[in-house]
């Protein structure tokens, strides 16, 4: 099957929103592109259905290949994801994923961790943009957090040295730091972002964060068109809650990224409205909603599909399908701004299906 990406999007690794949205010329000759869809658990299936419906209403040239991801024991006793899921992702390269539950004491590592390791998803990217119509104390937030996702404080290496003394190891390598730094600058360049800020604590962790910082500086040298600054983690936190508009692209090691990306999600309204993308080696990219599975409302048509939908929009942009991405995103934001049909968590009384239909209607009206 020929994959025919139209003239405008030559290997565009574009993720997220343009700061001054310039639409790409429409592609007339387009074949369907297949994307691996992992609905997930809890509310996963219903929000995935919502996304598929909206994509259909928008005539997005996407074909969904559904796969389930559970942990199975492979030959040799190592935990892995089902081979058909892996094969599908390796073939399609692009995936969209709903929330996966992490069972306690199941004997296997979390599914998210498994996916990360399987596809070497080294960069977690979260664009945080204030949603007009969903009021938070913070307006005009427009920043992107890029988090190194494979090492750092989450290396999982811990020891009980003697009784009552525990050591957790934070691992920083030259290779991973270089990779994430390069990615951050490329992202900034591809998305017309003006600056990249490295977030660190090299005053305290001189060698580890120092190495990370050095690699960021080296990448900055190679991308002189993007402004580079460095800031202590605590200073970022202090300034972020006072004036988030001063930040653009932030790049940082794993733990700081975890904390800051959730802090920024909190600024725009929480995990229910925040998109997220994971970039892996070999061109693999998996976009996901980062909220939980919400088992208490699963199957009751209460869920809010916004986070998964916005992640799917990120995915469209990554694939070069900017006009479809823009159309769907606008329909979603307009629906929220209208405040007539909103799910409960957004302050309304409507069902998930009603909210979805409202967005579909707006999408159809745009054509």
């Amino acid at each position: 099957v020929h994959r025919f990406i139209g003239c405008a999007a030559i290997v565009s690794r574009v993720l997220g929103s343009f700061k001054n949205g310039s639409p790409q010329p429409r592609n007339f000759i387009r074949e369907m592109q297949t994307v691996t869809l992992i609905p997930g658990d809890g509310i996963g299936p219903e929000i995935s259905n919502a996304v598929m419906k909206i994509f259909e209403a928008a005539n997005a040239p996407i074909e969904w290949e559904e796969r389930n991801v559970t942990a199975i024991k492979g030959p040799g006793g190592k935990w892995m994801i089902p081979p058909d899921a892996k094969e599908s992702m390796d073939r399609n390269k692009i995936g969209l994923k709903g929330p996966l539950k992490t069972p306690i004491a199941a004997g296997h590592p979390s599914m998210n961790l498994l996916l990360r390791k399987t596809f070497d998803l080294y960069a977690n990217v979260r664009p945080c943009v204030s949603i007009e119509g969903y009021k938070t104390p913070y307006t005009d937030v427009n920043l992107v957090t890029i988090r190194e996702n494979t090492e750092g404080e989450y290396s999982g290496i811990e020891h009980l040295i003697v009784d009552g003394v525990v050591q957790s190891i934070k691992l920083i390598t030259e290779q991973a730091s270089e990779r994430i730094a390069e990615y951050a600058f490329e992202y900034a360049r591809n998305n017309q972002r003006a600056s990249v800020t490295a977030v660190h604590k090299a005053n305290i962790m001189r060698m580890s964060d120092g190495l990370f910082l050095r690699k960021c500086r080296e990448a900055a040298e190679k991308h002189k068109d993007v402004k580079f600054t460095e800031m202590y983690l605590d200073t970022v936190c202090l300034n972020m809650v006072q004036d988030p508009t001063q930040f653009d692209v932030l790049v940082m090691p794993n733990l700081y990224g975890d904390i800051l990306s959730d802090l920024c999600a909190g600024l725009i309204g929480g995990l229910g409205v925040t998109p997220s993308g994971n970039i892996g080696a070999n061109g693999v990219a998996i976009f996901e909603s980062v909220h939980g599975t919400a088992p208490d409302i699963a199957g009751k048509d209460f869920a809010n599909p916004t986070a998964l939908l916005l992640s799917a929009v990120m995915m469209l942009r990554h694939m070069g399908l900017h006009s479809h991405g823009k159309k769907i995103e606008t329909a979603c934001f307009d629906t929220i701004r209208d405040k007539k049909v909103l799910t409960k968590d957004l302050g309304g009384n409507s069902k998930c299906s009603e909210f979805t239909e409202a967005i579909c209607q707006k999408v159809r009206d745009m054509d």
Binding site: T136, P137, Y138, E153, Y154, G156, E158, H159, L160, D163, G164, V165, V166, Q167, S168, I169, K170, L171, I172, T173, E174, Q175, K201, A202, N203, I204, M205, R206, M207, S208, D209, G210, L211, L233, D234, T235, C237, L238, N239, M240, V241, Q242, L255, D258, I259, L260, S261, D262, L263, A265, G266, L267, G270, L271
Partner: protein
């Protein structure tokens, strides 16, 4: 605590950036209010790689028992063997509890109101252990150390403080789902201590969720206890929420010594020497110090004057949206102290 002839001697470390000028203002206010405190000034030169300056400072604090300090700059381009001087001070004196009280001030415009959070942060270990090595070229390990002793100690401090101040809930902040052994141990110790305080509610929250909750609903938090790095993050978030680094005082307590400073420990290099820095945080820190020295009347007098200038006179420096200079704010504070009829010396 050193008292001689009714006067206390306190070590003063001016530090870098805005430290020297603001501490001069503190001394001025003390002199004006006839506070019976003499300052022994010890300078630490952050550009030097030797430890002599720091050793002198630490010895002086051991001698006097109490110190007031500005932040000492850490040039992180120096090799890893030259550690952060502020950190060295904290660990050498075993100042295990960093305490910060974040309160919304009526005179300061912020997005969130009615914040009243006490943050107790473990101050000596965790990610700040300064134990790093390069195993092979390009592979660096940094050790985060959590011990049962220090975790119990800080938890005990938090619950005792909560009880003393009549607070009702203590929340432990952690990442034990990922750092199962390290933060798991910390959480376990908090739970153990909590069982000895049935009058106080204990719960826990994962750090990333905590920051998300802080920026949306900070009023839900009462007392928070956590290991070192999360303490760094949470205290800076909270300081930002109530109006910024110029407002909140911080205290570092050990068994034998106490050191007072601003809560967010900023050097403020870019605003140094321009008469625009906010003197509030350091003045309030000096009041905390006066309470520690049991000079409560002086503490209250100065604190009230600072808060009156902030909330009633509304004379604000630039960092909180005003146009007053540092000197104007300090003079306003001194005028209010004088107007209350207490003994003061000349302006």
């Amino acid at each position: 605590i050193v008292v001689y002839g009714g006067r206390h001697t306190v070590t003063l470390i001016p530090g870098d950036g805005i430290g020297p000028e603001l501490l001069n203002h503190v001394r001025e206010v003390f002199r004006f209010s006839c506070v019976p405190v003499d300052f022994e000034v010890v300078h630490v030169n952050s550009a030097l790689e030797t430890d002599d300056d720091m050793n002198n400072a630490i010895t002086a604090i051991r001698r006097n028992g109490v110190a007031l300090k500005g932040n000492i700059e850490t040039k992180h381009t120096l090799p890893a063997s030259v550690k952060s001087r502020n950190n060295v001070l904290r660990t050498s004196l075993d100042l295990y509890a960093n305490v910060m009280h974040c309160q919304s001030l009526p005179g300061v415009q912020t997005r969130h109101k009615n914040i009243d959070i006490m943050i107790i942060r473990e101050n000596t270990e965790g990610e700040y252990s300064s134990l790093e090595h390069e195993s092979v070229s390009g592979v660096v390990e940094s050790l985060k150390i959590i011990t049962r002793n220090n975790s119990l100690r800080i938890a005990e401090y938090a619950f005792q403080l909560a009880r003393d101040k009549g607070r009702r809930r203590v929340t432990a902040v952690h990442k034990a789902n990922i750092m199962k052994l390290g933060d798991g141990l910390f959480l376990q110790c908090c739970k153990e201590v909590a069982s000895g305080y049935p009058d106080i509610t204990f719960d826990s929250m994962i750090v990333d969720n905590t920051t998300m909750q802080l920026v949306s609903k900070p009023q839900q938090f009462d007392v928070m206890v956590m290991p070192n790095l999360y303490g760094n993050v949470v205290s800076n978030v909270c300081a930002g929420l109530v109006g910024g680094p110029g407002l909140v005082p911080g205290a570092n307590y050990g068994r034998d010594y106490a050191v007072f400073e601003t809560a967010t420990r900023n050097t403020g290099k870019s605003i140094a020497g321009r008469n625009i820095a906010n003197p509030t945080a350091l003045l309030l820190a000096s009041c905390m110090m006066l309470d520690h020295l049991e000079l409560n009347d002086h503490a209250t007098s100065i604190r009230n004057a600072v808060l009156t200038t902030m909330n009633e006179t509304r004379l604000h420096t630039a960092d909180i949206g005003g146009q007053g200079t540092t000197l104007e704010v300090v003079q306003s504070i001194m005028r209010i102290i004088q107007s209350k009829g207490q003994l003061t010396s000349e302006f």
